[in-house]
Amino acid sequence: MKPENNSLALNRRSFLQTTSTVVGSALVGALSVERAAHAEGSDEIKIALIGCGGRGSGAANQALSTDGKVKLIAMADAFTDRMNGSLSELQRAKGDKVQVPEENKFIGFDAYKKAIALADVVILATPPGFRPIHFEEAVRQGKHIFMEKPVATDAPGVRRVLAAAAEAKKKNLKVGVGLQRHHQAGYLETLKRINDGAIGDIVSMRVYWNDGGVWVKPRQAGQTEMEYQMRNWYYFNWLCGDHINEQHIHNLDVANWVLTAQEKASPDEQAHPLRAHGMGGRQVRTGKEYGEIYDHHAVEYEYASGARVFSQCRHIKGCWSSVSEHAHGTKGYCDVGGHRITGPNEWRLPRGNAKDPYQQEHDDLFDAIRNNKPYNEAVRGAYSTMTSIMGRMATYSGTVVEWKDALNSEISIMPKEYDWNAQPPTLPDANGFYPVAMPGSTKVV
């Protein structure tokens, strides 16, 4: 914001901290950026990046590539090296749109609070375990938010996000969630056709994220257990939620999206399954460097309309690979991600210059912020996260898991305390191996 607006922004903040009434929230909406944008023609939006990995840096780059004046003014991360790398790359990519003075670089577990306080829009891109905490705080401070998927790693986390999402709505905060397929023209066009009945009623879907897996960060001498897990976060559930949550959420989210009309769900929430059962394990990726997560999950989800969604995700190299979603209807078949329909209403998305969906999701969010359009993807993001976590609950336990039990589960997998010397919730045995969930005995709800 320009100097003359600073007092306004500050007032807004202090105002928020002292009131939580609906009247106050409505006022916040009236006073937020879009009003100044209209008055000034080119109002500057200040951005803080929380979580400076490759994806966070990418998201900041996209936010800084939206129309209008935008500036990155604060950054927060657990690690100095990650932040410095990110800052260099962003300066390279965006030049003077990146203005992060030393005093606005915050390091550590509580860094997010300070960075959030300085910005109009915050990007939440740490490992997903922290998302509920960061989202809650950003909403509390009255900021617009872009948060990466998934938005939690356990049911209590999902509920915190749902509660904060309701609060964000009251405060007229705009919230984007990094499920970018919702901003990808090919998906939007395909969904429109499905909703128009191009394949009839949906009987079943198949969704996959079968691939070779991701990076490993080896343990370094002198690391505390907390630091090691934070670096090698993909393999620890409190941070990642297992790959069924961290990656496969994209495909499960598409299933919820495709079934939304048939299940008569609100688009803000999307459809969600009633129950799930499945199987999974660690067949190949058994080393201690792979922490506690499985290398494959296969889940069958059941929806109220009777539709079934068959889901697979696998992190094993040398096997059949596919990242895709497929819908089978009474009148035809749709390769949702391939944007193709076969059957009586045969169709294929014409080739053309597609726009980067990662850019589009930021263009859409910032447009909503500047022009005060309704924008809150948090609830559906939370439901899709819960769908993924429910799948994990099913494969870890081997039991049938009901949606309401899963969502209301009181089992928290998060640490009690966030400190480099604190104990993470899972610890290695004498040989360095971590306990792994065992179907038939692991309790999940």
Binding site: G54, Q91, G318, Y358
Partner: protein, 466 residues
Amino acid sequence: MNRFYMMAVTAAAATTVFAADKVDFAKDVKPILENYCLRCHGDEKPKGGLVLKTKADAVRGGDNGTALTPGNPAKSPIYTLTILPPTDDNVMPPKGEKLKKEQTDTLKKWIEAGADWPTSEVLIARKLEVASSSAADDMANVMEVHKTILAKLSEKAQADMKPYSEKIIGSEVSFEMVPIPAGEFVMGSPESEKGRKPDEGPQHKVEIEPFWMGKCEITWNEYELFQFSEEEKKRRNQRNSPAELHAQADAVARPTTPYVEMSFGMGKDGYPAISMTQHAANTYCKWLSANTGHYYRLPTEAEWEYACRAGTKTAYSWGNDIADAKDYAWFVDNSEGKYQKVGKKKPNPWGLYDMHGNVAEWTLDQYEPEAYKQFVNATAKEPWIRATKPYPHVVRGGSWDDDPEKLRSAARRFSDKSWKMQDPQLPKSIWYMTDAQFLGFRIIRPLKVPPPEELQKVWKSGVERD
């Protein structure tokens, strides 16, 4: 003869075409400063109190006064210290590789012209790979690989060149190579050719030396051995392949693990590898050379067209009739929206499969739309336009997603940043092009083995970072 790595042109004036007439800060000057100066003259403890992040910093100077006097190179230490003899105590940069004449000339020209440096350009240090110790190790490895290649080389002349099949050591995977004789051909297309684009002309003569070319595009079977080093190690351990056979290949950099599935569900076994950057394809060639002891690399654009035409002058190597495309190529009309197994259609007259379709193929050259103009009335010998920037590079041959006119022998296309669009990270990967699902490559093996320095140049462009 000035073989291969520089353009050797019989017409004298032609080589100036690509010399920069006007120095551009972002393109020409910034890389020099970021590669050679910013590590010591950046944010943290700047040497001599001199910061070179912005023009204002440079003009303000450090402990020894200004570093930059726009318009006056002689009063700009940013230039004068770079042209001192390498043995001088004050030469810049003080350690590692010194600036080349072209680079100091660029600085001089830029300063003479007023040292244009937009305020939006805030410089940061880039890792200079050539000067780092890992680069020294890298070069040492190339020297070793070069020795191995020379020791193994049994073919001395074109007459010795036969088709062969080569097994990737430590695996069951093999690939086939077909000899391509030396010769001269007319590169580009006539204006009368249907679907022709202006960058395909003017037509000109090109001389090519003999090489073998991959009968087929590189498949996932081959590529994944390179892509996933741990998997490759497992496989060779199962086969008790001796570790010493793999030492040189293991010294070659390998791709990072991709976050998304890179075959996009189109199949792996027998299908072409796709979505790799040119850097990844180059590095594959280096790795494969180290593994097999034969010198492999990407073809130049000219070598590719020569091999594709296989002596023909028509739009396609089968003639001019689009109706025949279905017999020779996978393209939009018959591919069913995906790539297909390699080697299933008819080959071209020299026995090469899928040159016109299935997946488009990387070449070594930077794309320059007017590249051919310099060769008018000349014969280009082994032309190669070496890259000075990450985009655009030339890609040749049609793909499963293309209309027939893009399948033509002379059709050129070029890489673009949008080919990495869906890479959500910053920095974007130097290994993967998430949005180039139509793009693969095939390798060649030149009969002549150049010195190690030239091997390194074809295997590492130096401009792989976006």
